[in-house]
């Protein structure tokens, strides 16, 4: 009887702890993911990146916190207010390394490569003429690898479209080249049904870009 009681209590305690842990994780992730919408400045995104990194460091086996930390940094990376694009990209890539170590499926790894593509693109844009051969090509290779892992990820097409959109017509880019890629992205966005906490961003941006292509 005594042994049985102790076992019962222990079971209850363990169950509570385990349940509260995953509840705590999901809760924290949801709270902070909601903050993505209200974040506006470089400081906001840095804060968000720090928070997600903290969650990642505490969990260790989850790739999503690192992924969102990297996403927050690369979102800040597009802002003119962020001065040191190289340092930001270095930190983004370090977070991607950690996310990659925890990620299991090809689809997850493709999501991480999309972030790496943004980091490399931001570094390339510092001095496109000189850096195209290094960072420009690296950005292209990230997308290429990602598409092999998950050819149905809409974000990869959105990024590809954005890259074509930003490339002058003379260099093989332009609205006309970007439009079918954005259309393909939108088609995939409509089909996508991300699991809870999984990335789903980019549809709104794709629609905006597509509008600019008309």
């Amino acid at each position: 009887m005594k042994k049985y009681l102790i076992f019962l209590f222990a079971a209850i305690v363990l169950h509570t702890l385990a349940f509260s842990q995953s509840e705590k994780y999901e809760g924290a992730m949801k709270t902070n993911l909601a903050l993505f919408d209200s974040a506006k400045t470089v400081e906001d995104f840095t804060k968000l990146a720090n928070t997600f990194e903290r969650i990642g460091e505490a969990e260790k086996t989850q790739w999503l916190p690192y992924y969102y930390a990297a996403l927050a940094l690369s979102t800040a990376g597009w802002m003119p207010a962020l001065a040191d694009k190289d340092a930001n990209a270095d930190r983004t890539n370090a977070l991607c390394d950690k996310a990659d170590a925890a990620a299991v499926t090809d689809a997850d790894k493709a999501e991480i490569l999309a972030i790496r593509n943004m980091a490399a693109t931001q570094q390339m844009l510092v001095d496109p003429q000189t850096r195209f051969m290094s960072y420009g090509i690296a950005a292209g290779q990230d997308l290429q690898k990602a598409l092999k892992l998950d050819p149905n990820n809409p974000r990869l097409y959105y990024l590809q479209g954005a890259s074509l959109f930003g490339t002058p017509v003379q260099y093989g880019g332009g609205k006309d080249k970007a439009k079918p890629v954005f259309e393909k992205a939108l088609e995939l966005y409509k089909q996508q049904n991300p699991k809870e906490l999984y990335p789903g961003w980019g549809q709104k941006q794709t629609e905006e870009m597509l509008a600019q292509c008309q």
């Binding site: 804060k47 903290r54 460091e57 001095d127 003429q129 997308l143 290429q144 079918p180």
Partner: protein, 748 residues
């Protein structure tokens, strides 16, 4: 219920209650009293933490208890960990972070150097820059002449840096000395460099105060770093009225190794028949050039590289003889050159790196000069006309250089490192003047060590020394080198450099047995640099002192004794400004140099400004690319104030005196070039085409580099380029496929 179980349950409840009570942790993150915003503060292995605000302050609440580790991270700083014991009391902490020294934020030792490459750091000049600098005609040295500190010398090849002669600048490929970096020239006409700018991914041009890893250059070193593996396999072709070429570069499928082979043939016959040249070319200059390479990436990220180039050149030209109104001097030159360079770079682990190099080159010049009469027949003179006789000569100059070099590097953490090593050059020169053979064998050995120490990201020192011994003069020396760099602001930095530089006497000064030692220069350099948003401003002041320069003493006509009694100084200021940002797709740089220098050396009887030095030089280089035309247009304007010239003759007491002197007119040159790249940006293009055209000295400005004097000194004739303008039109084609876009296109 069991009592013990009840107590256990109670304890759990208490513990949970206790855990729910919260404590405050707050503080300030600083580095050297400056607040650090955006730092991440984490209670290790928990979700609790925060980010510091704009004044470095932070505050967060945690329900954790007991001993924990607080981890503070911020971009550009070293991670800091602090033990905290959390009870119900608020905790206040002062956190001091240490800067992380990285290649990006750290100060760089820039005194005396122009560094260029595809590294993250803003480059000064890369291979594309060299090719698109109007007037350079894709010659590395010609493009470097648009940088401050260099002279517009057109009558000899070489980089004349800060009052130094051309032979006082040495070139190194991957650390190995290049003995004959230029094609052999004919008198009064500069020749091109042997190496294409596209062979190199990085260039360091030091105009003074260079590292202890290099030696035997009194003024300057040009350090060329060859490219690693090519991006892709391709076949290249060059078609032009002056040159045709074909080559290939093959990258292995696993992208671990590559090889390449190229051949080109230059014949200026057609060009010279269209564009009149002052000299009468009786043998049209023609050159065969071949090169080959292989590169292998090793397992540990090391690299083995081999490059070889072979060149054969043949030319002959006649010019009027200055001592006569009908005689001509016919000069002919045959050149064979074979250059080999092998390097092996390897990571040895634990911060150790190894760089091994070996090189062999052989260069044979067969030079013949003959005085000819009106009908181009050889003319002989009685021995009383020795000055005319001396113009009939043959000179076969064979120069072999074999060398080995090893440099070991040990990282001391961060960017700090020590490097040490040695090199051995075996030079075997066999100049044969008429029938007299002079054997010159030199065993040159050097040992060197250098430490690059980053005291913080704002302060770095490079301290080194070099021991050298040359067997042909049987002298040794020790050359210390010191540079310091201080980052004065986020975008600006100050550097200073000091060093002693030795160079052994030139080959022709060692024909006669004499007790010559090393020539010596002491450099002091002060440099200010500001790089921001693709704009670079660089101001450099220097002072150089020369000791033990070689002096000539006349023995008989054209024969001299030599000693080390020469001396001199050079001081000046160099300005450089480059802006790639202000106007879209427009890139320009401006350089200006002022120099005050005098030397008492060679035949100069008193300290004189050398004839290759202009007090003021300036260049403006502009490049504009029009994306809608897919074409780029480049213009370069260079100016230099007049240069002094002298006629120095021996007097009756066999002492030199200045028989005549003067100053040339200013040098002006405006050059244009344009490139049309129709396939630019077309990622699906299987072939790549560049149409390139250039004209040097478009305005046809008179360029006088100095004067030649007749034997009696009564007649002087200006030294001018063989033609006022130089034109070039060429088509460069390459076939190769970059498949990086295929995957995406296939998925659409």
């Amino acid at each position: 219920m069991n009592r013990k179980a009840l107590i256990f349950l109670f304890l759990i409840i208490v513990a949970r209650e206790a855990a729910l009570s919260q404590s405050v942790i707050m503080g300030k993150v600083l580095c050297k009293k400056q607040p650090i915003p955006g730092a991440s503060i984490t209670l290790k292995d928990t979700y609790d933490g925060t980010t510091s605000d704009s004044s470095g302050n932070f505050k967060f609440i945690t329900s954790e208890k007991g001993e924990h580790l607080l981890v503070i991270t911020a971009v550009g700083y070293k991670m800091s960990e602090q033990k905290v014991t959390i009870s119900n009391q608020p905790i206040e902490l002062g956190i001091e972070l240490k800067e992380e020294v990285t290649e990006l934020n750290a100060v760089t030792i820039t005194a005396g150097t122009f560094e260029a490459g595809d590294k993250k750091r803003a480059a000064v000049l890369n291979s594309i820059d060299v090719a698109t600098t109007a007037g350079s005609n894709a010659d590395i040295s010609a493009a470097l002449k648009t940088l401050p500190g260099t002279q517009q010398v057109g009558e000899q090849e070489g980089l004349f840096v800060r009052g130094g002669a051309g032979y006082e600048t040495k070139q190194f490929i991957d650390g190995n000395l290049v003995n004959n970096p230029y094609f052999t020239s004919v008198p009064d006409i500069a020749s091109r460099g042997r190496f294409s700018p596209f062979l190199f991914k990085g260039t360091v041009f030091s105009t003074g105060g260079y590292s202890a890893l290099y030696g035997q250059a009194l003024s300057s070193v040009l350090l060329l770093e060859s490219i690693d593996l090519p991006e892709k396999s391709e076949i290249d072709a060059t078609i032009s009225p002056l040159v045709v070429g074909l080559g290939t570069q093959q990258l292995a499928k696993n992208k671990k190794s590559s090889y390449g082979i190229n051949y080109s043939y230059v014949n200026v016959g057609l060009y010279f028949s269209l564009i009149k040249q002052t000299p009468d070319y009786f043998k049209m200059p023609q050159f065969h050039n071949g090169d080959a390479n292989f590169r292998i990436k090793t397992k540990n990220g090391g690299m083995i590289k081999y490059y070889t180039t072979f060149a054969f050149g043949d030319l002959g030209l006649r010019r009027p003889d200055i001592d006569s109104d009908y005689l001509k001097d016919a000069f002919s030159l045959k050149n064979n050159n074979w250059y080999n360079n092998l390097t092996y770079k390897e990571n040895l682990g634990k911060g150790w790196k190894m760089n091994l190099g070996a090189s062999f080159s052989t260069n044979l010049d067969k030079i013949q000069q003959q005085v000819q009469d009106k009908t181009n027949l050889p003319k002989q003179f009685p021995s009383s006309q020795f000055w005319m006789n001396s113009k009939n000569f043959s000179f076969h100059n064979l120069q072999n250089l074999s060398l080995g070099r090893a440099v070991i590097e040990k990282s001391l953490g961060g960017l700090s490192a020590i490097r040490f090593g040695g090199e051995y050059w075996y030079s075997d020169y066999r100049p044969k003047f008429n029938d007299t053979l002079y054997m010159q064998i030199d065993n040159y050995t050097a040992a060197f060590a250098e430490g690059s120490i980053y005291l913080s990201k704002n302060l770095a020192a490079q301290v080194g020394a070099r021991f050298e011994h040359s067997s042909i003069i049987n002298r040794s020396d020790i050359a210390p080198r010191i540079s310091l760099a201080y980052k004065a602001g986020k975008r600006s930095q100050l550097s200073v450099a000091y060093g002693i530089f030795y160079q052994k006497p030139e080959s022709q000064q060692l024909y006669v047995p004499s007790m010559l030692g090393f020539t010596k220069a002491i450099h002091y350099v002060l440099d200010y640099q500001r790089i921001y948003n693709q704009r670079t401003l660089r101001v450099e002041a220097y002072y150089k002192k020369y000791e033990d320069l070689i002096k000539q003493m006349p023995v008989s006509y054209n024969y001299y004794d030599y000693n080390n009694a020469g001396s001199g100084y050079a001081k000046g200021i160099d300005l450089f400004f480059r802006d790639k940002k202000t106007i879209k797709d427009f890139d320009y740089w401006i350089s200006y140099s002022y120099i005050d220098t005098k030397r008492e050396y060679l035949n100069y009887p008193v300290p004189l400004q050398p004839s290759f030095v202009a007090n003021h030089t300036a260049s403006i280089v502009t490049k504009k690319f029009f994306t809608d035309l897919k074409a780029g247009f480049n213009a370069t304007y260079s100016w230099a104030s007049g240069r002094p010239y002298y006629n120095i003759l021996p007097d009756a007491n066999n002492k030199f005196y200045i028989a005549d002197q003067g100053k040339t007119i200013d040098y002006n040159s405006l050059s244009f070039s344009a490139e049309w790249v129709p396939s630019v940006g077309n990622t699906k293009a299987k072939s790549f085409l560049v149409l390139f055209a250039t004209v040097s000295n478009l305005l046809g400005s008179n360029q006088v580099y100095g004067y030649n004097y007749s034997y009696n000194g009564f007649i002087k004739s200006p030294i001018m380029p063989p033609a006022k303008r130089f034109y070039f039109v060429g088509l460069f084609l390459s076939w190769g496929v970059d498949r990086s876009q295929d995957a995406i296109n296939n998925n659409l």
